[in-house]
Each structure stands twice: as C-alpha cells, then as structure tokens.
C-alpha cells in the first residue's frame, strides 16, 4: 500500500506491520492509526519491549530455550532431574509442558520439525547439538515430545535413528493427544496424562 497522502513514518509503520504473519494491509493500517491516536506511553512501551526482545534474550547454550540468563533458569535448577531429557519442537511446547506441572527433568528445544517440503532438514534444527549432548551426558531416558503431526512424528523417528547408538532409553508421549494438533494448544489435563502414559519407541 503506497499512498502519497500519508506522512512517511505512518506509511513505514504500516509497511512493517504488514510484514508480520496474519496481518494484511488493512489490519496494519488499523494498528498504526490506533497507535497514532493513543497516548504517547503505549507507543513508547511497545518500542522498548520490541528492543528488549532482541537485545536481552538469547538461546540457552545447553537446551536452546529462549532465556534472559545463560544458562537458562531450568538448566540452572538443581532440584530438577538431571537424568531425564524431554525433546520439544518449540519454546511454546516447553512452556505448555511446564504449565502441566507433570515434568521436572531437562529440556531440549529443536526449533522446528523436519519438513523437506519447506526445506527444513535435520541440519536446520538443534539436532547435532542434541546428539552431542546425549552422547556426552548421563541420561536415563529421552522423551521425544514432538507434535503428533506428520512432521513431528517423522522428526521423532529420525531422532530415534540418530540416537540409537547412545543406548539411552527413548519414549514418546502416549496417544490421546488430538492427532494433527499442536502441543501448545492442548489442555493441561490431557498433557499431564500423555506424559504419564509415555511409551517406548
């Protein structure tokens, strides 16, 4: 949307908003004019939040969760089980499992799932880091908690092959999760149950 009647900063913010997923040019314009009309504090708070998002967060060097501290609070926590490792696709999946309060081991965040169609291969995910971590570590069990989608399941099957040499026991979440769904949107009870009923792969 290019419009000469609009001052450049307004036009620019509209353009930036419309680069976000799920936001078309109309919504982008609506958001921009909302900010323009609202008091100065809202726009300021937003800009600070955006800046800190990039400046003050990083990936934990152990589990690759997003964190402000290095290593992250979960990896630092000595009360958590050090011999149990749970592999998830996204930080939001980790968050969902934490909300379920049914798990207190370590995590590993892959940052996606294998999908050749989208050009995502094993090397685009934190898989080599996982293999290294498991071979050098002292784990009793690895829970492969990828999403119950084709991509998630294929990723789990691939991990199973890659980790077979380590000899560590591997489990998957029990079925009962809605097939084709996302961990992130699953309710706590179902997630807790799925964790309890995890199975050997």
């Amino acid at each position: 949307m290019v419009n000469n009647a609009l001052p450049r900063p307004v036009q620019q913010l509209i353009n930036e908003f419309s680069r976000l997923p799920g936001i078309g040019s109309k919504s982008a314009a609506r958001l921009t004019f909302f900010l323009l009309r609202s008091g100065g504090q809202l726009a300021l708070d937003l800009s600070v939040a955006l800046q800190e998002l990039k400046e003050k967060t990083r990936f934990c060097s152990i589990c690759f969760n997003i964190t402000e501290e290095e290593p992250c609070l979960i990896c630092q926590d000595d009360t958590r089980d050090k011999r149990l490792l749970c592999v998830v696709e996204e930080p939001l999946d980790l968050l969902a499992l934490e909300r379920a309060r049914a798990y207190s081991g370590q995590y590993h965040v892959l940052h996606g799932a294998i999908s050749p169609i989208e050009g995502i291969g094993p090397e685009d995910l934190r898989i080599d880091e996982l293999v290294k971590r498991v071979s050098e570590g002292d784990f009793d069990e690895i829970i492969l908690a990828t999403n119950p989608t084709l991509e998630g399941e294929s990723t789990a099957l691939y991990l199973k092959r890659r980790l077979a040499d380590t000899g560590v026991r591997m489990t998957g979440l029990a079925r009962g999760l809605s097939v084709g769904g996302d961990l992130e949107y699953t309710d706590e009870i179902t997630l807790g149950r799925a964790l309890d009923g995890r199975v050997d792969l």
Binding site: R19, G24, K26, I114, P116, L150, L157, G180
Partner: protein, 433 residues
C-alpha cells in the same frame, strides 16, 4: 414398482421399508455461493425436480450439496471460484461464502456448514489472496475431514464418462470420494499418506540434487509403507465389493443378461515398466494376490517395501515416488476387453450407470441409509429402459434432486410423485400443483 427389481436380489438394508425416514436434507441455506447471493430453501423428502432455463443455477445447487457432503467440487479446480463473484469483487476486506444443510438422519438432526473465506489482503507467503475453509458440525468447528460422513450423496453428471475414459487420477478421485463418505479412518489414513508422499518427493529431489543426505529417506519410506498398505487393503476390499455389485446390476438390470462387465483394481505395488500404457498383466496378478492377502498387513507391507526399494534409484533420479496407492488405477472390462479402448459409447454409459447404481446399493448396505441422489441432466441422454431403471432408484431413495431444462421428458406418473421447483437467476421457487 417400489418393491420389485433390484431390491429383491441386491443388497437391501434390513429397514428397507423405513428408508423414507432416513437421511435427507430438510433445509439448505447458501450465501455468496456461485450465482446464489442468498438462498433459503426447504426441501421435502422424495424426488425433487429442479427445472429452468440454461445458466440459472440448477447445477450450482447440486454442486453445493455435493460440496457439503464431500468437501470437494465436482468441477471447480480452485475452491475460491465457488464464492459469488459479485461479492468477491465488492471490495470488502473479507468475503465469506457459506453453505449450510440441516440434515435429518437415523441418529437425529444435524446442522452442517462449510465456510469459504477469502481475505482480500495479499498473503505475504505467496502473493496470492489468502483463501481458507472452515467446517462446522452442529455449530462446532471440526476439521474438514471430520465433516465427511454427515451427509452422503451419489452424483450423476454428464461428464461421468471420464471415469471410464479419463486418466487414472480421475478414477482414484472417484474412489476416494466414495470411500471417504463411508469410512473416516480411510480418509484420515489417505490424508496422512498424501502428505507423506509430498514430503518424500521433496526429499527425493533434494537427494537427487545432493542437498540432502539419504539417511532421512527410511523415515518417510517406513511411514509410506505403514499408511500405504492400509490403503491398498481398504481399496481392494471396497473395489471387490463394488465390482460384484456393479457386475450384477449391469447384467441383471441394465443389459437384460446379455453383457458382462468386470471391474478390476490395479494396485501400483510394482514399478511400471513401459510408461502409462504398459501392460496391465502384472498388475492384475498383484490385484489377485492382494484380494487373497487383504487381511494380512505384514504381507502387504513386505511387498510394498520391496517395490519401493526396487524403485528407489529411479525415484531419486526422477524426484518422485513411482510406486504406491497414489499411482493406483482400476478399470472396466467388457466381455473380456478394456472398456475404455474397445467399448462403444453406449457400453461405456451403461458401465458408468452400473457403477453408480452399485455405489448406491453399497452405501445402503454399509450404512443402512440411502444416500441422497443428485442427477444433473443425465436422464436426457438415456434410452427408455435405462431411464426407467435409473428412475426406479430415484423413487426408492429417501431424497433425490434432479435437474432438467425441459420437464416435459418426465412422465406424468413421475411428476406426480415428485416436487418440482423452478430455478431462475439464483432463486428457487416451488411450483404450484
């Protein structure tokens, strides 16, 4: 008339006499669908004749019902074409086409709905206008796949002949749409299988280009074998049943015992040697093997796995998976010869008719309910005997919608037993008697 004919010998539901109480649409509501800006239409039981001039919306109405039952259009290649174009061009940021059927079944009444949603903003990913669909059963969102089975239809179209003469993909499409209306597990398996094929093909191309290593391939091959073997088995079972019934209908009802057709599954459990016109001999042998081993998943998996392994080098070179149910075919033979090559048009038409009638009987037997019949202009093409046979199916169904430009071709007797409505420029008006 109602008690005679095929119902004595064919598959009949135990509740034959109660069938009129079963599956039918009581109300249809369309918004921004094709040339229907807004339609609210009550539908009675029995046969309904939709008549009107050309280009008024007769076919579109049948298409709407077919779409609610199958989530597919018999003709549009892009579902976004289904949205009323005046609404789509009005400049609103979101345009919604809405199809709703209130369906009465044995299990009670159900409200089923599909929304076609077109957003005018260009999507960033592909620069296309973004289009999506939503399905609702009793006003709760469900996956499109889970909508299937709530409304079952058998459709007759003038272009059905392509099932005989067209490409294998036409025949697979027919097979899948029919089976999916009855078997939700098949439908889910098929959807997973198709996604696996796409992923595997993308991977094969990357391996061919040297941008991906081979160690991912077994993951997708294993998944393909697991899901594909179930599809092979289900199709074999289904086509076996359909073949027997189509053969019976054809022989007993359509050709008065003079001609015999045979329908055979050609499972792609083996690489095709010499292009698409390659000999079907080996596939027929595999078809027979599959019939005998239908219940033996490990045996089917072993065979499929062997075929995939044999094709692997070629598949990498071509960047596509060449064996598996996504390359299946099935065909008709008439008096021992391939119907698509050696059959006359009349013979091909009879075979299609036999297939569709068998489909009706098969659905009856599988669900205990008669499917809703949708007949678009097909009666005009039939000779008197076949027309009579087809009308006997119409009169036996709980609900059937027929279209015609000229209602005069129907007998007074038939008109008396059906409700007729005039379709004119996206409006439907019941006729006064």
């Amino acid at each position: 008339m109602l008690e005679s004919g095929h119902s004595q010998k064919g598959w009949t539901s135990p509740q034959e006499s109660l069938r009129y109480l079963f599956m039918h649409i009581t109300h249809l509501s369309l918004t921004n669908f094709r040339n229907y800006g807004r339609l609210e239409l009550d539908l009675p039981l029995g046969s309904i004749l939709l008549h009107g001039e050309n280009a008024q919306g007769k076919t579109n109405l049948l298409e709407a019902i077919y779409y609610l039952a199958t989530s597919r259009s018999p003709q549009a290649d892009q579902d976004s074409q289904l949205i009323n174009w005046d609404a789509a061009e009005a400049g609103d940021s979101v345009v919604v086409g809405r199809l709703i059927a209130q369906v009465a079944t044995q299990a009670g009444s159900r409200h089923i709905e599909i929304r076609l949603i077109q957003e005018q903003g260009l999507s960033l990913r592909d620069g296309q206008r973004s289009f999506r669909r939503q399905a609702l059963v009793d006003r709760r969102k469900v996956r499109l796949m889970d909508l299937l089975g709530n409304l079952r239809v058998v459709m007759f179209l003038p272009q059905d002949m392509q099932i005989v003469t067209g490409s294998p993909s036409e025949r697979r499409r027919y097979l899948d749409i029919t089976l999916c209306q009855i078997d939700p597990i098949y439908c889910r398996t098929l959807s997973g299988y198709n996604k696996t094929v796409e992923q595997r093909n993308a991977l094969l191309r990357q391996i061919g280009e040297g941008t991906s290593s081979q160690d991912l391939l077994p993951v997708y091959s294993d998944k393909l074998i697991e899901l594909g073997s179930r599809i092979f088995a289900r199709r074999s079972l289904f086509l076996g049943e359909l073949a027997r019934e189509a053969q019976r209908v054809h022989y007993e009802e359509l050709t008065k015992g003079t001609e015999s057709i045979r329908l055979r599954y050609l499972p792609r459990l083996q690489e095709n040697g010499s292009g698409s016109r390659g000999s079907v001999g080996p596939l027929i042998a595999l078809s027979e093997w599959l019939q005998e081993n239908q219940m033996d998943q490990p045996a089917i998996q072993a065979k499929f796995s062997e075929a995939l392994a044999a094709a692997q080098a070629n598949d990498i070179a071509r960047g596509a998976t060449s064996v598996g149910p996504h390359r299946d075919d099935w065909r008709f033979w008439i008096n021992g010869r391939d119907l698509s090559r050696y059959g006359s048009r009349g013979q091909q038409r009879s075979a299609i008719l036999a297939l569709k009638m068998a489909e009706i009987n098969w659905m009856n037997a599988a669900t205990g309910e008669s499917p809703i019949l949708l007949l678009d202009e097909v009666l005009a093409e039939l000779d008197e005997h076949r027309r009579e046979m087809l009308l006997s199916y119409v009169l036996k169904s709980s609900q059937a919608l027929l279209t015609a430009t000229d209602p005069a071709m129907f007998t007074a007797g038939f008109m008396k037993q059906s409700t007729s409505m005039t379709v004119s420029n996206g409006r439907v008006q019941p006729d006064d008697d």
